[in-house]
């Protein structure tokens, strides 16, 4: 019995030694420094309030960039057909947030109207065509963003 006691005591001592050596550096859970932003204002740079990194995927983000550049002058930043140039147009630009409209049309139709313009699908020729400026992927990206338009706005 004495032997066993010896063994246990030595083993125990060794264990304590090891635990002492190996104690991990303490890690705080991420109680970060981050204080809430004082100016929780709307995105001044982009003119909208959504966090595009959370709500949009890659192709939709690419689409957003292109949409903001080429489409917003007439269709408006939110796609409601109220861009600054829309007041000069007759008929008015399409409201792309109109879910009745947007759910009705197919991707193929949208692709056609963007690439071949309004005249390509027997609508107002005021919508110019972009098939010589944007490539197929870019148009697809724009469409995927348009599809997302009515879901990302409150």
């Amino acid at each position: 019995m004495k032997k066993i006691k010896n063994i246990i005591s030595i083993f125990g001592l060794g264990l304590i030694f090891f635990i002492g050596c190996n104690s991990k550096r303490e890690k705080d859970p991420s109680t970060t420094l981050r204080v809430t932003f004082k100016a929780e204002v709307s995105d001044e740079l982009n003119g909208n309030t959504i966090d595009i990194w959370k709500t949009l995927n890659y192709s939709e983000r690419q689409g957003k960039y292109l949409f903001d550049k080429y489409c917003t002058v007439c269709h408006g930043i939110k796609g409601e057909g109220d861009g600054f140039n829309s007041y000069n147009l007759n008929p008015k630009p399409q409201n792309l947030q109109d879910s009745l409209y947007i759910n009705k049309v197919s991707d193929v139709f949208l692709n056609q109207i963007i690439s071949s313009g309004g005249s390509g699908v027997n609508r107002s020729s005021q919508m110019p065509y972009y098939k010589f400026l944007l490539d197929e992927t870019e148009i697809e990206n724009i469409i995927s963003y348009i599809r997302k338009l009515n879901t990302i706005q409150e």
Partner: protein, 652 residues
């Protein structure tokens, strides 16, 4: 003896168990789970997806030094049909690079060697580069590319603009960022009208002007007092250049209404608000003028209007050709309008300066590296820069001063927090507070994360030709500088981005039109706020510039003959094409109706040369890379008809 046998039996079984642990662990590894569930997941699909054969997979690129095992779990990466599948099976969006060739960590960072979720994605104790968040992915492009357009890296480019705007390079070394103009403080005592303004400004510049670029240094009460005393004592201008004396009749006329009205007219004719804002309305190139009369002395304002470059060396403000009377009238107008009515001047002039303010002032001035932005010609001023940021993205986490903060995970978290609360990392940090918006912080961080040493081999680098600076010599150079043309205009991409590029202007515009335009500048696009100011430029200078445009800013490719028709019925055809077929009128005003996006084309034949009209319609992007005018791809016949139609739109 039996005891030994027991020990023998027990220890050998213990050994067996010990040995069994490792193979068992092998079998139950995460990635095996993922691969199995991928195979069962794809069974539920209507279309066929290739199954994965179990086993570790990796992308190995010897030249880039990359071993990425991400594809062990992200098995559906190149399967286009899986774009809506949950992670880790989602396919990669279409991009310009083949991931089998370049690997994953080249762009995404993270521990490519790892096959465990936590180690591969999250910050761990021994891996400094956790997965880059999606929003910062742009910064990875700059490992190979050196200059990408907004189309590819909008956030990064925005960050660069912000870093330029806030003049970060005055304290931190950053390559390729020009230093912004900041006023030098020689003779600031003669510029500032009252000390209370200086004190308020030093306490918190953004309280005085919301778009002030100067950050809040969070100086203490005493520091502010000392510094204002110190600065107020500089009454001498540099090189003993003194301010222009106000004309004698100013004092008698300054309350006169007609005189003030003259000032107001000149003020609006010169389009001051193209650059200056008034209560936030107007241009963003220069300071807000709303309370300027309470800040600067009359004499200083008058001198500034007369010859800004003489009293503020390096300033980009145009030297208008005002007469003395006009300048004085504008001064009177400013004095009558842009006053801070709340300031009480009597209270403050009585405060006595703190003893020893000069030495203490120098100390504070040096401590916060005020000299980085504001020149002051005394020899005690020393440069006291902050850490250089040239290779900030290469920094290892242990090289960063974390102070008392408990954030030790990743570089981007550090940068975000540093930009937001600069003084949070340790007592001795000097960085002032900028009060950036969240998006601005993200943009700047994205830019900083791109600042790194080249780690990729030479043949992977994509380098763009650097923009050649445009610096004409002689009289032309002096004129360009006098009117600060390159603040708004650019020449072959060198210069400001506000106004059109001038590199081909000689082939683009008619001489007569430019001459008229110098005289009565107006905005071509009605909605653009920042329009060309009236420079009050002399006729000789105009003619000289026009000669220069016609001899230097020329594109030989635009020098060809066009067979334009003049037949009315053909012009009518061109009109129909313009209006009906190509829908140009939705953006351009012609015959009094049309859109505001492009410039009005009513008198376009007067303005533009026919070859330019022709070439522009053929390929707008060739002449202005980021124009939204869509390339129509119209045929030669239509092109000629429309060009003829537009060319005949002129009043003479």
């Amino acid at each position: 003896m039996s005891k030994i046998k027991i020990i023998y039996a027990v220890t050998s079984i213990l050994f067996l168990l010990l040995l069994a642990v490792s193979p068992l662990k092998e079998i139950f590894k995460d990635w095996r789970n993922f691969q199995n569930s991928f195979n069962s997941y794809t069974d539920s699909f209507p279309f066929k997806v290739a199954k994965v054969d179990n086993g570790l997979k990796q992308i190995w690129n010897k030249n880039l030094g990359i071993i990425d095992r991400c594809i062990t779990c992200h098995v559906g990466l190149n399967e286009n049909k899986l774009s809506n599948a949950p992670q880790p099976f989602t396919s990669h969006p279409k991009i310009y690079h083949d991931n089998e060739k370049y690997g994953c960590t080249v762009c995404h960072d993270g521990q490519g060697l790892s096959t465990k979720y936590e180690d591969a994605h999250l910050p761990t104790e021994f891996w400094d580069k956790p997965l880059l968040p999606r929003k910062y992915i742009e910064s990875a492009c700059y490992r190979c590319h050196d200059d990408l357009s907004d189309k590819f890296t909008p956030l990064h480019n925005k960050g660069k603009e912000l870093i330029e705007k806030y003049n970060c390079v005055s304290c931190h070394d950053l390559p390729g960022i020009p230093k912004q103009y900041t006023p030098d403080l020689n003779g600031v005592g003669t510029k500032i009208k009252n000390k209370q303004w200086l004190i308020d400004w030093l306490k918190n510049p953004s309280l005085y002007a919301t778009n002030a670029r100067m950050p809040n240094f969070k100086l203490s009460e005493t520091e502010v007092t000392i510094l204002s005393d110190f600065l107020f004592s500089f009454k001498e201008r540099r090189n003993s250049q003194s301010l222009y004396p106000l004309p004698e009749y100013y004092n008698t006329l300054k309350k006169d209404e007609d005189f003030i009205k003259l000032g107001k007219v000149s003020f609006s004719e010169a389009r001051c608000i193209s650059c200056h804002s008034i209560e936030g309305k107007g241009g963003k190139l220069a300071i807000d003028l709303i309370k300027v009369a309470s800040k600067a002395s009359e004499k200083w304002i008058y001198s500034c209007i007369k010859n800004p470059k003489a009293i503020m060396p390096g300033v980009e403000m145009t030297q208008f050709g005002f007469s003395d009377k006009e300048a004085a009238a504008i001064t009177a107008y400013i004095e009558s309008e842009f006053v801070d009515w709340n300031i009480n001047e009597d209270e403050i002039q009585n405060i006595k300066p703190v003893t020893g303010y000069y030495e203490k002032g120098i100390e504070i001035y040096n401590k916060y590296n005020c000299g980085g932005c504001h020149k002051l010609d005394i020899k005690e001023i020393k440069e006291n820069k902050g850490p250089e940021l040239t290779t900030i993205s290469n920094k290892k986490l242990y090289q960063i001063e974390w102070g008392k903060s408990n954030l030790k995970h990743s570089l981007y978290e550090y940068l975000e927090n540093k930009l937001e609360t600069p003084r949070a990392f340790g007592e001795n940090t000097r960085m002032p507070e900028y009060k950036f918006y969240k998006e601005e912080i993200t943009a700047i961080t994205a830019y900083l994360l791109a600042q790194r040493n080249n780690e990729v081999p030479q043949n992977y680098l994509v380098r763009k030709n650097k923009v050649q600076p445009f610096k004409p010599q002689g009289v032309i150079g002096k004129t360009f500088e006098k009117y600060s043309c390159l603040k708004c205009h650019s020449v072959n991409d060198y210069g400001g981005k506000i106004a059109p590029d001038l590199a081909k202007v000689g082939s683009q515009l008619n001489r007569d039109w430019i001459r008229k335009y110098f005289n009565i500048p107006y905005s071509l696009r009605a909605i653009v706020e920042e329009r060309m100011p009236k420079l009050f430029i002399s006729t000789e200078e105009v003619e000289m510039l026009l000669d220069y445009f016609e001899s230097v800013f020329i594109d030989d490719n635009l020098d060809f003959k066009l067979n334009l028709t003049e037949k009315p019925e053909e012009l009518e055809k061109g009109k129909m094409l313009f209006k009906e077929k190509y829908g140009c009128q939705s953006c351009h005003i012609i015959d009094g109706s049309g859109g505001y996006v492009g410039p009005p084309l009513d008198n376009v034949g007067e303005r533009l040369k026919p070859t330019w009209i022709y070439s522009w319609i053929k390929n707008p992007q060739k002449y202005k890379a980021n124009t939204i005018d869509p390339k129509t791809g119209m045929n030669e016949e239509d092109l000629l008809l429309i060009t003829s139609y537009l060319f005949h739109k002129r009043s003479w």
